[in-house]
């Protein structure tokens, strides 16, 4: 453990920063495999997340094949279809996005951006990754277990999740799923403590909270939320395991299955829904807040302009984080509730749009009259703003009880949440990888391949999810294995479904371009130098690239300014790094 000495007694602090003692690895194993270096752990997290994400991508292809061409692919039966849906959703939300944003970017960027040598509890940080890997392996194991993975839907609603009619319900599927979640949450808690306490205690001299880059604010707030929200999923998972394995009746009402009365009685599925969505809604913002933060930094850097309204951006992040804990029941309008509760949750849901809209305005105002470089990170950041706005607007529809109830079980909801928490954060993930890749490897990713990847992904995502809103408005239900003959679905809707499937296949294939670029550029990319984007934040000021264990050479940097000094009038360059003190030649006008 790195203990930061806490003597604040000396009136004149020495100029150099006291150093912390680092754990030094001795062998290849402890350097690259059981590493306690946050940067190695970040890469391990990211690689594992992307590997399991590929599984989710293939699952979405299989689902789309069934929806676009029902009956053609006979190996996809109804049971398999539900397993694909469940695993796709679960992997994407938890094992890919949460793990990548917090475990991946959090680990890599927090120590570097706040000017620390490493996380404050490196050993727990290492355990965090290995527990995450264990959770992923248990999840993968469920594909090979008798009966296959659970097909209960990613929300795992009881009672159906533990009944024999649901794939994996009476077999291993649901048990492995719940165990995997429990391990994921224990592992995440270990990592999350690190992210929070490092931001609190690991900051270098001069790095006040209000000088933190917004990326760190986003990851920090999201981690605090995740630490408080994941226990709800933990409790729900443990209680459901009890119901499934010990025959208790926390969630299970009295049920007759196959003509037999089960031993459960009196439980309430609504209790599970409350616990699940108490985690589930903050989860949306656990994924979105890091994305907000990263996009702010990408836009500012690549438009060579300071972020508009930094303070408001910070407050908005914190307020969104707080509000997201009191909106959970808007996922349960269809379950039925006291109209007063419905009114309350609809109101809070709409209020959360205010700070969110404020952020969108600030991004646009940052771009306004900026020196916009259409680099790959910038393209993805711009695409994010548009996509998030789209998804957010349909969220305003769905936040209202009367609109939500008829739309709730249609493809409209699928289109909404894919836009807002699927496509939008993934675009940020890509933008962030293109942005920080030069720091991680010392080389640039290939520009042409990157542009192909961007346009295929961006346009493709719109071609997939825009028509889906329309299908939803037609009343096309979601979660259906096949539609059969229905009067209200015109033949054109079926051709639209085929079209969506074909585009989905192409977009999925487009991701292979990205993967190729990712691995190819490690050796063959253009040399990047230490600061190819001419950015101000501390991670770009390391003496060597990629940064070694310990991040910053002999002395830790001292921070003299905020993270957004771009195009300062009178300055020699169009950016001033955070660790550069004021040079009296530069006169600054109060703005």
């Amino acid at each position: 453990m790195v203990n930061i000495p806490s003597s604040m007694d000396d009136p004149i602090p020495p100029a150099e920063v006291e150093d912390v003692e680092l754990y030094h690895s001795h062998s290849w194993w402890t350097t690259y495999v059981f590493s306690q270096d946050a940067k190695v752990i970040a890469i391990q997290y990211s690689m594992t997340a992307m590997a399991i994400g590929l599984v989710a991508l293939v699952l979405s292809w299989l689902m789309r094949l069934q929806l676009g061409f029902p009956g053609v692919f006979t190996f996809i039966d109804a049971e398999r279809y539900y397993q694909f849906i469940t695993m796709h959703g679960m992997i994407m939300v938890i094992y890919l996005l949460t793990a990548l944003f917090l475990g991946g970017f959090g680990n890599y960027l927090i120590p570097l951006m706040v000017g620390a040598r490493d996380m404050v509890f490196p050993y727990a940080n290492m355990l965090s990754y290995w527990l995450y890997l264990l959770a992923v392996l248990i999840l993968v194991a469920s594909f090979f277990a008798p009966g296959g993975p659970t097909g209960a839907g990613w929300t795992l609603y009881p009672p159906q999740a533990v009944l024999s009619g649901t794939p994996g319900g009476a077999d291993w599927g649901i048990v492995l799923m719940l165990l995997s979640l429990i391990f994921f949450i224990i592992g995440f808690t270990m990592g999350g403590l690190n992210y929070v306490v490092t931001v609190l205690q690991g900051r270098t001299r001069g790095m006040t909270l209000m000088r933190l880059p917004l990326t760190i604010w986003g990851i920090f707030t999201a981690t605090v939320m995740a630490l408080l929200a994941f226990p709800a999923l933990f409790v729900a998972s443990v209680m459901m395991l009890f119901d499934r394995l010990l025959g208790t009746s926390f969630f299970m009402p009295a049920i007759v299955e196959m003509g037999e009365q089960l031993q459960h009685a009196g439980g309430t599925p609504i209790l599970f829904q409350h616990l699940f969505w108490f985690f589930g809604h903050p989860e949306v913002y656990i994924v979105a807040l890091p994305a907000f933060g990263i996009v702010s930094d990408l836009i500012s850097t690549h438009a060579r302009k300071n972020i508009f309204g930094y303070r408001m951006m910070v407050w908005a992040i914190v307020i969104i984080g707080a509000l997201s804990f009191v909106v959970w029941a808007h996922h349960m309008y269809v379950s039925g509730m006291n109209p007063n509760f419905g009114f309350f949750f609809a109101t809070t849901t709409l209020i959360i749009a205010v700070p969110t809209a404020l952020k969108v305005y600030n991004w646009v105002l940052t771009l306004w009259r900026g020196d916009i470089h259409l680099t790959l990170p910038m393209l993805f950041a711009l695409a994010f703003i548009v996509t998030f706005l789209n998804g957010g607007l349909t969220g305003l529809f769905l936040g209202n009880v009367v609109v939500d109830v008829p739309l709730s079980d249609t493809l409209f909801v699928v289109a909404h949440f894919h836009m807002v928490m699927g496509v939008a954060p993934i675009l940020v993930v890509f933008g962030a990888i293109y942005h920080w890749y030069p720091k991680i490897t010392g080389r640039m990713m290939d520009e042409t391949l990157g542009r192909i990847h961007f346009w295929v992904t961006f346009l493709g995502a719109y071609l997939i999810f825009f028509p889906m809103h329309y299908l939803g408005l037609l009343g096309m239900p979601r979660r259906y294995y096949e539609m059969g003959e229905t009067a209200f679905v015109p033949p054109s809707a079926h051709s639209l479904n085929e079209f969506i499937t074909i585009v989905a296949l192409i977009v999925g294939a487009g991701q292979m371009v990205f993967l190729f670029n990712l691995f190819w550029s490690v050796r063959h990319g253009k040399d990047a130098g230490g600061n190819p984007w001419r950015a101000t934040t501390l991670e770009w000021q390391t003496p060597t690239t990629p940064p070694p264990h310990g991040n910053f050479g002999k002395d830790l940097p001292i921070v003299y300014r905020w993270a957004y000094d771009y195009s300062v009038p009178g300055a020699a360059e169009d950016f001033i790094p955070q660790n550069q003190p004021n040079d009296d030649r530069i006169s600054r006008e109060p703005s």
Binding site: M1, V2, N3, I4, S6, M8, I12, P13, P14, F121, G192, L193, V196, V197, L200, Q201, G202, R203, T204, R205, G206, T208, L209, M210, V224, L227, L228, P231, A232, F234, V235, V238, M239, F242, L246, T248, S249, F250, Q263, A265, G266, G267, T268, H274, L275, F278, N306, Y310, R311, V318, F325, I558, V559, Y560, R561, W562, P581, N582, D583, S591
Partner: protein, 234 residues
């Protein structure tokens, strides 16, 4: 879900109080340091490990509050028959109180550098905590012997779930306490392990508080209080 919302509101107050001291109204774009300035060390003067434990306890608090929330929601349904509380739980509670007090005493001794007293205090607290866990298992056995099985009634299920979850947390704490005791036995100076003892004491006090709340809840004394709250809310 009102229990967890009250817990989060309390946490929000603490966070707001902390944020209020962080100069959130400052204008960072106007505040540029000069080369001669040496900015202050950032972060709090409280040891990092202690802050880490504080954050962890907030997470543990959320976990138990969520269990309590679920308990209240399930209790409202009409198939609930409360479990008779084994008398042994009183004895266990006394053991846990003793353990917590022993750690508080050890902390004071460690501050004064009295290693022998630290060893004795850690040993006493370790033994009483193990005693608590054994006592909890015996209480489970008494209940099962009397026919209160885990799946028979939601009150039983919650009893085993909540006491089990609390026991696991004590067990985890014993790992840290064991490591601290081991270092004390190896002769590490008392002042050097003061922080570890302090952290153990903090964790034990917290788990004792959690246990007292859970005990009141399981024994049914909290029911009247909850009833009053419920009437206020509806």
């Amino acid at each position: 879900m009102s229990a967890i919302l009250i817990f989060l509101a309390a946490l929000a107050l603490i966070i707001t109080w902390w944020m209020a001291q962080q100069r959130l109204m400052s204008k960072p774009w106007l505040e540029v340091g000069h080369a001669g300035d040496t900015p202050q060390r950032e972060g709090s003067s409280i040891p990092t490990a202690k802050i880490g434990l504080g954050v962890f306890l907030a997470v543990v608090g959320a976990l138990f509050t969520l269990l309590i929330s679920a308990y209240f929601m399930r209790m409202g349904l009409n198939d609930w028959w409360a479990v008779p509380i084994p008398g042994l739980l009183w004895f266990n509670t006394a053991l846990l109180v003793a353990s917590s007090l022993a750690l508080q005493w050890t902390k004071a001794k460690a501050q004064r550098g009295n290693l022998e007293a630290v060893k004795a205090g850690l040993g006493l607290s370790f033994v009483t905590s193990v005693g608590f866990l054994v006592g909890q298992i015996l209480a489970w056995r008494q209940l099962t012997a009397a026919g209160y099985l885990v799946a028979d009634n939601p009150a039983n299920s919650f009893f085993y779930l909540i006491t089990g979850m609390h026991g696991l947390h004590i067990l985890g704490g014993l790992v840290a306490l064991g490591r601290t005791s081991f270092r004390a036995l190896k002769g590490v100076p008392a002042k050097a392990i003061w922080l570890s003892v302090d952290l153990c004491a903090m964790y034990w006090h917290f788990m004792l508080l959690v246990w007292l709340i859970l005990f009141a809840l399981l024994a049914g004394w909290a029911n009247d209080f909850v009833e009053i709250c419920r009437q206020l809310l509806t």
